[in-house]
């Protein structure tokens, strides 16, 4: 079974993002870019499935500008077998990415697509779900435990009330949550090996997908500064304030 793992290039999670002076977006020039942490977890899970003999090949796919190759290389240095880049400079929305991934999936015929539950740049949490609908495959989202059997997956999902266990027939789309595993670091020997692993490049047009954005960003601003809190002398004052000022009780 092949596993397809989409990986997204985002501003590194440890960077304080800054809004561009002209308000058109966040500053990404000279900012460390890394693989989206949830995608790292997806890659790690695919590697573990391969190591356990449940998968034969792992394909890392990324959509975006040519620099996304670095993100694919990171996946290859972690142990993925080959890469696919859908190259475009157009800013991509979740639906466009889902359509691109559908096209790649149709070419590659994977048994499983493992995605991060969301990307830390826009926090959309949509791509996996849209992809599942477009492909007409079953989906399991927010997965914190995954068992892959011959014809189905059994997935433990993190939901508000606790954990939910679902089964989905293969092929399936699974989006992963933080607690699924702890991703490994790339190693120097694997970085050297990754150099020899192929990355195929397509343009969206070649896949027959229109990626034109449908949402216009008007303005990006910093969140409002939080004001300092006040100290209250006792519980009675607190209750009074909550009742009369905050009006929450």
């Amino acid at each position: 079974m092949k596993i397809l793992v989409p990986v997204k290039r985002v501003v590194d999670a440890n960077i304080k993002v800054r809004v561009k002076a002209d308000g058109t977006g966040v500053e990404t020039q000279n900012v460390k870019m890394s693989m989206n942490p949830f995608c790292e977890i997806a890659v790690e899970e695919a590697l573990r499935l391969k190591e356990a003999g449940k998968a034969t090949e792992i394909i890392a796919v990324s959509c975006g500008p040519v620099q996304c190759q670095e993100t694919i290389r990171t996946a290859l240095a972690m142990g993925a077998d080959r890469g696919v880049l859908v190259e475009t400079d157009v800013p991509l929305e979740p639906l466009a990415i889902a359509k691109l991934l559908k096209a790649v999936a149709e070419k590659e015929q994977p048994g499983l697509i493992l995605l991060g539950k969301q990307a830390i740049d826009n926090d959309c949490n949509q791509t996996g779900q849209m992809l599942s609908a477009l492909l007409g495959w079953g989906q399991a989202t927010f997965v914190s435990k995954l068992a892959v059997e011959a014809d189905h997956v059994e997935a433990t999902r993190e939901v508000d009330g606790g954990l939910e266990v679902v089964k989905a027939r293969l092929p399936a789309v699974v989006t992963v949550d933080l607690r699924l595993n702890e991703p490994r670091y790339a190693s120097l020997p694997n970085i050297m090996k990754a150099k020899k692993k192929p990355i195929e490049i397509f343009k969206p047009e070649a896949l027959g997908v229109d990626v034109t954005p449908r949402v216009i960003v008007l303005k990006v601003v910093e969140p409002a500064k939080r004001n300092a809190g006040v100290k209250v002398p006792d519980v009675a004052t607190l209750v009074a304030k909550l009742r009369t000022e905050a009006k929450v009780i």
């Binding site: 304080k16 500053e27 020039q29 000279n30 240095a77 670091y185 120097l188 020997p189 970085i191 990754a194």
Partner: protein, 602 residues
């Protein structure tokens, strides 16, 4: 969101723009590499350092290694970090492919190590010592010694140490008294006491291989009678299986001001049980073999000092941007908000001073690392020879200058934090304590100064010195032909000729037989040479930054980065380089103020 501990933009600038790392990939030894593999390695180093080294830097300091029932106990994060470092392939990165290495250029390996040094100097010391010992065995060990000792070191199973110092033999290695007696089985039995041995005993590794300097019975006195021995904690059979415990035992721990994560030990050899050692390299050549490892260790010590300075600089920069206090002189309205302290001229002074010390030294440290590559792999014989000479003369400078001046940077970082800098709630006081070791170990700075003036400057009939001056003058001339930097170019050329005149004056005293006077003020000589070397590195950076800044398509952050380089260069030339004039004058006067002091007069 953690405070940054290294500046990736500057790493890229020095590695690629200033030192052209990519060029190295054209050489056969590094053919499997390219910019992508270099950058990927740096990135892994960055992430590992941040996640697994920085995370316990404070904990290692607060819960230093201790003795529990005769065993050294070290917090578990240390071994976890070293295991991850090893699993990522860093221990063997620069080694030959046949030994499982990646044949990474030394330059890139040193740049990778810099991240770990900035994040946690106490933990990275164990791999650092292990890699140095492995290199020494690689150079001088027999094939059997390599297989039994070096290979498991490169796999992260065995750790290494270097054992030189004894209570009566610190700076004076020629007074080493540990004895080695050749047994009938062809192996040596060692007896003696070693002190200050970093990583000398603990339970983190399957085995520890000590590289020990000792004197074979009957050998001549002095440094020429010392030989090098591999002394494992557990004996190792021919097939690599571990045998019984060797008689190299812990006699006590040393409690230090800083660098607490690295266990410091007193070790007894052959006291209760016999201590078996194997000769490494030729008889009586021990010091030369050890110096093979010491020279790279000295660049490593310099880099450690630089990275602690760098981490402190970045921490104080972050603090200065976020701490508001007071108002600017022109603001008279007390109702106005306080200003972030980075707005105060005096804070900017302390930031710029730090920037000029740490970034100047960082460039010099990596320049020396590149010389290590050129010495081995430059295409022409002359290139290899010149690199070796430059490296020889720069080694005492790159060890000593940063360990004084990047420590000064740490002092300024504390000052910027005000009272908070003096508390253990901020990292800068630990940076200072950790960095305070660097002028002391691997040869004190006093010894480095004697090495520079007494040996390196006149080695190979002064060729290394002339070569260094030539390189400095090439940069000075280039700058002097460019209107915007010409005054700096002229200033550097003048300082270099000052250094030559000073050296000649000192040599004249030596040639008259005034050896004591010649060497008396060596420390000032080293500082003068160091300041000139750093000014040279700054001018190289400024030349480049100016060219890059001419690109109109530059992003605003790149533009600020290059402007910052130019400003720091101008600062160093205005505030620091002029000090060398007074130093030169003092040195040429062969001043005897210190030399003539008598004990009773103090």
């Amino acid at each position: 969101m953690s405070v940054p501990f290294i500046n990736p933009r500057d790493v890229r600038f020095v590695l690629h723009e200033l030192l052209g790392a990519e060029e190295l990939a054209l050489r056969p030894r590094f053919a499997a590499h390219d910019r992508e593999t270099f950058d990927a390695a740096i990135e892994v180093a960055h992430d590992l350092a941040r996640d697994l080294f920085l995370n316990h830097n404070r904990a290692s300091d607060e819960r230093e290694p201790r003795l529990v029932e005769g065993r050294v106990e070290i917090i578990p994060e240390v071994k976890a970090a070293i295991d991850a470092f090893s699993a990522a392939g860093f221990l063997a990165a620069h080694m030959d492919a046949e030994h499982g290495g990646q044949q990474m250029p030394w330059l890139v390996s040193v740049a990778c190590m810099a991240h770990f040094q900035a994040a946690n100097v106490g933990t990275i010391a164990y791999p650092f010592l292990t890699m140095a010992a492995a290199n020494c065995l690689n150079a001088f060990g027999t094939p059997a010694q390599k297989a039994r000792f070096m290979t498991p070191m490169l796999e992260g199973r065995y750790y290494g140490t270097m054992m030189l110092t004894e209570p009566q033999a610190g700076s004076s290695l020629s007074d080493i008294a540990t004895r080695a007696e050749l047994g009938e089985d062809g192996r040596y039995r060692l007896t003696g006491t070693k002190i200050f041995i970093s990583g000398g005993d603990h339970e983190m590794a399957e085995n520890i291989v000590h590289l020990v300097l000792a004197r074979i019975a009957g050998a001549p006195a002095g440094a020429k009678g010392l030989s090098l021995f591999a002394v494992p904690r557990f004996l190792v059979d021919a097939d690599g299986t571990l045998g019984p415990r060797n008689g190299v035992v812990l006699a006590g721990l040393i409690h230090k001001m800083g660098y607490r994560g690295t266990v410091s030990t007193i070790i007894k050899l052959g006291e209760a049980a016999e201590c078996v050692g194997e000769l490494v390299g030729p008889v009586h050549q021990g010091l030369a073999c050890m110096f093979h490892m010491m020279n790279e260790a000295r660049i490593g010590v310099g880099m450690g000092a630089i990275m602690l300075g760098y981490a402190g600089y970045l921490a104080s920069l972050d603090y200065a941007r976020n701490r508001s206090q007071g108002r600017l002189p022109q603001e008279k309205d007390p109702a106005k908000n306080q200003t972030p302290i980075i707005g105060h001229a005096d804070i900017k002074r302390m930031l710029l001073a730090q920037k000029s010390y740490v970034e100047g030294a960082f460039a010099l440290g990596l320049y020396c690392a590149r010389l290590v590559d050129d010495k081995a792999t430059a295409p022409e014989e002359q290139g290899r020879r010149e690199a070796a000479l430059l490296l020889d003369i720069l080694t005492p400078i790159v060890k000593a200058w940063p360990s004084d001046w990047c420590l000064e940077a740490n002092r300024l970082a504390i000052q910027i934090h005000g009272g908070y800098g003096y508390t253990r709630d901020f990292p800068v006081e630990q940076h200072y304590r950790d960095n305070r070791l660097n002028p002391i170990h691997e040869g004190t700075n006093g010894i480095q100064a004697l090495d520079l003036l007494g040996r390196k400057v006149s080695m190979a009939h002064g060729e290394a010195f002339e070569l260094l001056l030539r390189e400095i003058l090439v940069t000075a001339m280039t700058a002097s032909l460019r209107a915007s930097l010409s005054t700096l170019g002229v200033a550097l050329a003048e300082a270099a000729s000052d250094l030559r005149a000073t050296t000649e004056a000192l040599h004249a005293a030596r040639d008259k037989g005034e050896v004591e006077r010649f060497l008396a003020n060596a420390a000032i000589y080293l500082e003068m040479a160091g300041h000139i070397a750093i000014a040279w590195m700054w001018l190289k950076q400024a030349l480049l930054a100016e060219e890059e800044a001419a690109d109109l398509g530059l992003s605003s952050s790149d533009r600020a980065f290059y402007a910052g380089k130019l400003a720091a260069c101008r600062y160093f030339f205005a505030w620091e380089l002029p000090k060398t004039r007074a130093q030169g004058e003092l040195l040429r006067s062969l001043d005897t103020s210190c030399l003539l002091m008598e004990d009773a007069m103090f």
